[in-house]
Amino acid sequence: MWRQWIPFWRPGLSPHGGDVDLLFAGLLIASALVLALLFFLLVLFCTRYRAGNRTDRDHRVKKSWHWEVGWTAASSVCFLGLFVWGASVYFQIYRTPADEHDVFVVAKQWMWKTQHPGGQSEIDALHIPVRRPVRLVMASQDVIHSFFIPALRLKHDVVPGRYQDLEIEVDKPGHYHLFCAEYCGTDHSGMIGEIVAMEPADFSNWLTQQAPSSPLASEGGQLFRELGCSGCHGGGGTIRAPPLEGLYGKPVPLSDGTTVIADDKYIRDSILMPRSQVVASYQPLMPSFAGKVSEDQLLRLVIYIKSLAGHPS
């Protein structure tokens, strides 16, 4: 709405991009006013009160406290306003993503690997439909990277050892830079990708045209059997393990009395650190798979378990 008031403005290309731009404009205007006032006073004082200039210098301000209180209060109020404004937009940017079209992002030295649920994977590129929220589930295989799309005014670090959720949405079709913003070693500056935003119809065409590959969930299922997970979690085993059907998205009671929601992070952590969150009334018997599965394989396992959500247990 405000963009119409400033016709020459080039808006950010996401639902929040405009808000961030407005915030930027607000910060710029506030700073420009302060700077203009300060420079005006500096120039004024430096010319009027330069040595040798016969200006009246009597009646100097001796008591300073009401000036001090004045500018302390003025700065504080101004800062508080900017703080509240910035924080409210921040909470919109990083709100919990809607569970729509999931894309999985694995960052590694020095490339972005992205994978759609249907199994289509890309290197240093990500095709998404416009005007639809896309949820990214990001993991790093080695060091800290940072997923940064300047056109969307959006950035999030990808820290090894945990999943990061990020919701992105693009308003306009086009090609946009994807940068790695956290220094990650030799070819950090080469870790540049491209976001390709397409009309939803074009996007579905693109998805189907990609080389046919098996969906991530079925690859995950195969992995689930190969790694021996099905031996305990499959139902027919002799060892009692929690069933995974219908698990995803549900609250899980833990043996320490707390409850967690079974989301991507929980499933990932349970594979890598099975003894940190033991399900109530089960024994902590499962071995850790840390170091035995790669980030790519972990993603497939998580997606497979997620695909079981619809099945009754």
Binding site: L42, C46, V143
Partner: protein, 535 residues
Amino acid sequence: MSDKNYLTTDYTLRSWFLTTDHKRIAILYFASLIFFFFIGGAAATAIRIELATPQADLVSSDVYNRLFTMHGIIMVWFFLIPSIPNTLGNFVVPLMIGARDLAFPRLNLMSWYIFMLGGCITLFAILAGGVDTGWTFYTPFSTLYSNSYVIVAAAGVFIAGFSSILTGLNFIVTIHRLRAPGLTWYRLPLFLWSLYATSVILVLATPVLAITLLLMATERFFGVGIFDPRIGGDPLLFQHLFWFYSHPAVYIMILPGMGVINELVSCFSRKEVFGYKFVAWCSVAIAAVGFLVWGHHMFVSGQSLVASLVFSFMSFIVAVPSAIKVFNWTATLHKGSIHFDAPMLYALAFIGLFTIGGLTGLFLACLAFDVHATDTYFVVAHFHYIMVGGMVTAYFGGLHYWWPKITGRLYSEYWARTAAVLIFFGFNLTFFPQFILGAEGMPRRYHVYPPEFQVWNVLSSGGAAILAVAYLMPLFYLGYSAFHGRRAPANPWNAPGLEWQTSSPPPEFNFASQPVVTRAPYQYNEHFQAEPQNA
């Protein structure tokens, strides 16, 4: 009183390297810091030449990464942090309080040796092949993936930290115990208030850095799983620990600069500092609140949103005392009698550059904008405005101001003013374009970049060329003046501070007789008869 001063008491090398005279130790620091400044500056120059084109034409990626790491490590730990406290502070603290020396003169000498040991180890790491982690040593890159001399460089920084702590302790005790009779806290020059606040941060924060670097080394050697996520560590823990030191460290760098500006603005407008007590307590407030803002480096790291909220709020709060100082300096000019000697030009440049740096700091404290701007050139521009535009400008201003006291000689006012103006223009041309680059989204630490960013990079590199020349100029005219300059009178600026009440250069034990203080600082004559003699 004999005509011997601290420079002429003895000429042997031994008398310099085993001296316990705070003034000579200040000179030792001064010489070492010039050396480190030009090493760090040479790296910066190479970086700017490389970035003049979008491709990698000058150096390879690995060399580039080692260059910016070396630039950061040298400049932060071996120039910015020690510069004002260890050279200007070391020289003028005892003079300003009317003491014969610092409280622990031998500890002071030891601090210099420790500092040089740390510096030499870091230089060895650089000569042996360099470090490519960035000055922040972020894990797990530094512990698991970097194949450079991480441990050696960290050891150098670790050792230099002890020098910081000892200097801080020395200043705290000196300012508490050795003030001349009548020199109450509210008669203390504001430079000493800011050095006192700085010393408190040095003593409290530096051990955290030491611990962090030790943990990092332990992790790199033994893989114990402090920061390594594969065995239960947390990479964000490193960032919390690192910034718990490194954000207060920013105030270690800028607070002494602010202190110098008080002396300069007051002296060259022949007026007492407006709102003395507010300015004094603002230094303390900045030091205290500065410990509570470290998380604003981690708004996009995945720390909790509530933590980000609190750190953003505290970051806005810490900006208030800084703003108060700027307003007070400006108010000091009101109805003054302003002289535009070289130190004053530096002071005015400082006020402008520091304000721009401070305001853009608010942009980064502002959560939603920080998401876009962090890790881009916007941040690079912001902290260079504070560190280089602020601290280095204040350092040069203070150096020119006390130069006659230190050397007993006057420098060429013409060349000094020319250099001050050139530094101001060169600096703005170098770093202002980087704000635009950052707002457009160019990430920092990029060796090659998309071609659309080239225009602003070329401007920035051009500015860096001017800046490099401007920073070299004082080396020549100050160097010349140290040997051939006109003799300086005891008090060339007609300033009221105690340090100007003794001869230039001061005798070995500073004062012929114990001075007694009877009035508040900055008591300039109401009707300005006492003008600087140097003008």
